[in-house]
Amino acid sequence: MAGIERRLIRLRTLVHVIAPRAGKAVPEGFRRLIAIEDVSKRYADGTVAVDRLSLQIPDRSITVLVGPSGCGKTTTLRMINRMIEPSSGTIRVDGEDVRARPVNTLRRSMGYVIQNAGLFQHRTILDNIATVPRLLGWSRQRARERAAELMERVGLDPAMARRYPYQLSGGQQQRVGVARALAADPPILLMDEPFSAVDPVVRRGLQEELLRIQGELGKAIVFVTHDMDEAITVGDRIAVLRTGGRLAQFAAPDEILSSPADPFVEEFLGSDRGIRGLSFLSTRDLELDRSRVFSVGSDLREISGRAPEGVPVLVTDADGRPLGWADPGSWDGDVEALEPHGPVFEVGRDSLRVALDRAVLSPTGQAVGVDGSGKVLGVAGQETVAAAIRSARRRRAADAPQEAPAVKAGR
């Protein structure tokens, strides 16, 4: 019986390889890798965890499932690798029904990262990472070499290889969890609230690390979280689920922020979606004011001549790095007496959200824009940033039919 089944599967795989793939092309240039088609999960007691959900999850991108508890996001994730079987509907990976393959073979072809890492506490870090390669029949030597390679990729000190999980911090354990999921180089990575149990600073680091790794590897990642901020940070596309397991909206993060589909999504986004949406607008085209920037050696009279009375000027050192604010009327040239300039933003790299934040924090209401090496390019006031926001919004509205930007602002 099992033999026949296996032969059938082999036949199906063969057909799959031979069959032309032309029909599957997706306009965005991304292959649809996981297709969730009309999937429901009902439990015996009548609870509906997932209700007729359909999602197309593209390759080489991070798709986030987000929603309040009880919205069926983890259930959906676990139906992809059949830890939970759907009551109805089909899930296909690369066109093939997930039920066509033996369940453990299927699972070994998908990396899985879980909350609290779920490491094997009785195995060393190296052996934890080598788990799936070993299951796939790799030699111990080869599996460990691969594991060592992955430790480096996720930013773990090689000296940790022989340690046990209890000797690592929560953030480090989660890095091991990611490395373990990537060990057999699966095309798909399933992440179930992976960073929920670590503190915000470590979480931020892990999110940035994930984006970096994804930039290098280009997996199809399905990422479950209840935290909308996290969804916006890591997601290329976000599926917002509502209680009862129904899809509320499936779109790119900035689209969700700028036009939530309904009051539920709007409420879930919180009260500051306008500000958060600025994360997706670049400071590249921000108009910077250079007339109020002077280097420390400048003649004081020249300063008071060029800048109107009472308007503070930014003083930089000889290399152009900011030193602080001065009132040209009363400043006597003492660097110590300058008012601190506060945090700066990097023009082109930081978003308008950062620029606005810096302007709000600045004692003069002017945000200091610097280049990659920290040299001042100019200053921008709150009104200037606001004008840039309006014009960016107008441009965006004009380009509306276009897809979301491929590269998201990191900060």
Partner: protein, 232 residues
Amino acid sequence: MNGFFDIPSDLQHSYGGLIAVHMQEALFPVLAGLLLALPVGLLCVHYGWLYAPLLWTSTVLYAIPSIAFFVVLIDYTGLTQLTVMIPLCLYSLVVLVPAVVDGIRSVPEETNAAATAMGIGLARRYFQVQLPIAVPAIMAGLRVATASSISLVSVGALIGNQGGLGNLLTTAQLYGRPRLAVTSVVTTAVLAIVIDALLVLLRRVLTPWQPPSGRAAGRSADVAARTPEGVS
């Protein structure tokens, strides 16, 4: 201490011989109990409804005095060591089955989920994940079962010299030599302590993955693990 090791010849054993018999009668039942408790404990974890009645049955068995067991068993196994070892084995189950069940249940939910998600089958998961993680709990149960078994063997003296060092107690009464009783009690206690120390050592060897200062540190390591990175 003069005469501590002098044993009356009708016991048909030297001092060392009595110890060997005693250990054999004490340790084999615990070993058999462990081999029985491992699959039974797994079944109890897998089928939750099984655990309560099983625990209830083994507790009732524990309440039956060994003399009563002997009376029943002598008809089948005679005045042999086996008659002593069967009740001891049943007694060990009352400690070992819960130890195995607690041990397997101590495996964190996310560890089990991770194992499943990585395509580790049920049998492999039991032997390669759950059992190793259950070792500290099982060893704790094993220590209790072994100590109690070592002390209980002496009862075997009641069915004709099958009590190892316990035989010295009846002989002490018979010949009016209380020193023999002291030899018996002291030796039994020392044996129990030595075996216990060996079991602790064995646990350390089997679980290099545990925080060094034992179980209490398990919790503090957990706390440390949640603090920011770079702590290690």
